[in-house]
Amino acid sequence: MKSVELRRLAHSVGRTLRKAGEPLDALALFGRLFKENPRALGLLQNPAIPLDQRDAALKSALDAAGAPPTSRAVLEGLARTFTLAVLPDLLALLETQALRRRGVLPLRVEVASEPAEAERAAIGRYLKGLLNQDLRLDFAVRPSLLGGFVARSESYFVDASLEGRVRAITSLEESCP
């Protein structure tokens, strides 16, 4: 599924779930299940197995999990269109949406080396002051940054890295006649 279609799907699923007042728990449970047990996902997506048998298997799994009706419909719809594999990405988008609705901005922060707890807290404070929002930080290590950090959300990009400074200086040099 193309990312634009996935985003549209996330948008409409999120809206439907909100209307129904259902949490993301059931979808999250199945997301974890498929991640930990890819064979289950493979079986549910296997076109060689007759559709009614696959439907029955999914139905029993949903019954066992006690999935509410809207979440059921979403999972059944994904299974019928052979797109159950997008569930982890869909969940990530739905979680982001839920956070944004609560006024929390999810940010992926990349640093040059594994940060200490104090550094994480300092970066968090700095970004909160800069963006003036509650944040949920997700740290990752990228040595090519050389130093500093970059933070990225859907709508913001903060570059406080040495790599960024070097790039800026290089482009300044290139633009000089």
């Binding site: 634009v4 859907e154 709508s155 913001y156 903060v158 406080a160």
Partner: protein, 510 residues
């Protein structure tokens, strides 16, 4: 001298005390799909409609569709370098173009980038391509003529500075030629011209530039080129960019002329963009706001009030019709927006009447106030004579038995039609036009054979320039076309006609 480590450390500390790490905070989005010159971008929550967005690598886009969870951008530049997942930055500004004197004589693209290999445009000022047109209180009535140098137009369909006059006709009927002639005729008259080529062949634009250079018209002209090979967004922007460049002169108290060649292709480029952005198609598949597309452009043409400098921007939009169909969507739109139209006909063109202006269907709604008195007085009888001629000529083809007065009127009409013919790139001074038209409407051509009319006119101009310069001056300067001037014209024409017939007896009607 021993090295003092403490001193050095202090120096470093004091130097770096004021250092603040520079942080680049940008509002960004992510390309989720790209194709056909359109990018769908997720993020960029606060982007404004019409804002320029930066794809990196000197590629910019224009945010046109603001949807709930994504925005639709048209890409200006190399589309194939943009990839899914690429970051897009807000620029927080509307597209701007360089403006000012530095652009005169240059050939630029719709964003003001040079195309003529004469180096960068040394311009310090920038104007946004989109701007709200001057309001009612900021405007002044159109009262100064903008002469095209074409007899048929200056006499019967006069254009004033600040007017919007449409040039409409089928392909190959001389629409561009009128625009180019008008630009050439502005030489030494203080009017800065902007020629905007939209969706044309590069060879055609090169030919236009060459012609303008040959006639020394590039000295007061800017050429904005968005050829057929450019992406649709650049073609869409071209007239707005050209208009912004011309507006600078208007807002600085000067007169400017903008020729949009042509708005049919501009509408087609906008249709392409709109369909790719999945906007609902309407009549002829154009989007619903195609009227606004042209009205907001042409409304920017105006004559400013003297308290605002009194500058003007005249617009000459060109529309190409298909098989003479003026009732198509875009022609009717632009006809209703403009202050008149010059209608060119293929039949007239191929029968040798050039410029092929259909004077019956052409009109200028405000230009009459701007005409000089002499030509305004003559235009009335010229129109009447031509109208009578057309009516009689239509009837005369069914019968041969015509009375004397009808034959006389037909002969007069034939000579007037011949008189209004004019070669390309030979604009005429208005005073010389008055001489010629006065001769035609007052019957001085009645005794000349029709094929000799152009010869008569050429010699008349030479005579007027050499021997009656006083009269030419009076025509240009006098506020009124009074009895005195009229009698002097009669006297001059009588003398000249006698001399011409004596020198060229073969030109006389048998």
């Amino acid at each position: 001298m021993p090295i003092d480590a403490k001193h050095i450390a202090e120096q470093i500390e004091s130097q770096l005390k004021g250092y603040e790490s520079q942080v680049d905070l940008a509002e960004v989005g992510t390309v989720v799909s790209v194709g056909d010159g359109i990018a769908i971008v997720h993020g960029l929550e606060k982007v404004m409609a019409g804002e320029m967005v930066d794809f990196g690598g000197k590629i910019y886009g224009l945010a046109l569709n603001l949807d709930e969870d994504s925005i639709g951008c048209v890409i200006m530049g190399e589309v194939h370098t943009i990839k899914e997942g690429q970051m897009v930055r807000r620029t927080k500004r509307i597209i701007q173009v360089p403006v000012g004197e530095a652009l005169i004589g240059r050939v630029v693209d719709p964003l003001g980038m040079p195309l003529d290999g004469k180096g960068p445009v040394a311009s310090k000022e920038f104007y946004p391509v989109e701007r709200i047109a001057p309001g009612v209180v900021d405007r002044h009535p159109v009262n100064t003529p903008l002469q095209t140098g074409l007899k048929a137009i200056d006499s019967m369909i006069p254009i004033g500075r600040g007017q919007r006059e449409l040039i409409i006709g089928d392909r190959q009927t001389g629409k561009t030629a009128i625009g180019i002639d008008t630009i050439i005729n502005q030489k030494g008259k203080g009017v800065i011209c902007v020629y905007v080529a939209i969706g044309q062949k590069q060879s055609t634009v090169a030919q236009v530039v060459k012609t303008l250079e040959e006639f020394g018209a590039m000295e007061h002209t800017i050429v904005v080129s968005a050829t057929a090979s450019e992406p649709a967004p650049l073609q869409y922007l071209a007239p707005y960019g050209g208009c912004a460049m011309a507006e600078w002169f208007m807002f600085n108290g000067r007169d400017a002329l903008c020729v949009y060649d042509d708005l049919s292709k501009h509408a087609a480029a906008y249709r392409e963009i709109s369909l790719l952005l999945r906007r609902p198609p309407g009549r002829e598949a154009y989007p619903g706001d195609v009227f606004y597309l042209h009205s907001r452009l042409l409304e920017r043409a105006s004559r400013l009030d003297p308290r605002l400098g009194g500058g003007s921007l005249t617009a000459l939009p060109i529309i190409e019709t298909q098989m003479g169909d003026v009732s198509a969507y875009i022609p009717t739109n632009v006809i209703s927006i403009t202050d008149g139209q010059i209608y060119l006909e293929g039949d007239l063109f191929y029968s040798g009447i050039r410029p092929a202006v259909n004077v019956g269907l052409s009109v200028s709604r405000v230009g009459g106030n701007a005409q000089i008195r002499a030509i305004r007085k003559l235009a009335g009888s010229l129109r009447l004579d031509l109208a009578q001629y057309r009516e009689l000529a239509a009837f005369a083809q069914f019968g041969s038995d015509l009375d004397k007065s009808t034959l006389k009127q037909l002969a007069r009409g034939e000579r007037l039609v011949e008189l209004l013919k004019q070669a390309q790139y030979v604009p005429q001074d208005v005073a010389l036009q008055v001489f010629g038209i006065f001769a035609g409407t007052q019957g001085y051509l009645d005794g000349i054979r029709t094929p000799s009319v152009s010869h008569f006119e050429r010699e008349l101009h030479a005579y007027a320039g050499a021997e009656r310069a006083d009269l030419l001056m009076a025509i240009r300067e006098k506020k009124e076309f009074d009895k005195d001037l009229e009698s002097k014209l009669h006297e001059a024409l009588k003398a000249f006609t006698e001399r011409f017939l004596k020198d060229h007896p073969e030109a006389a009607v048998a």
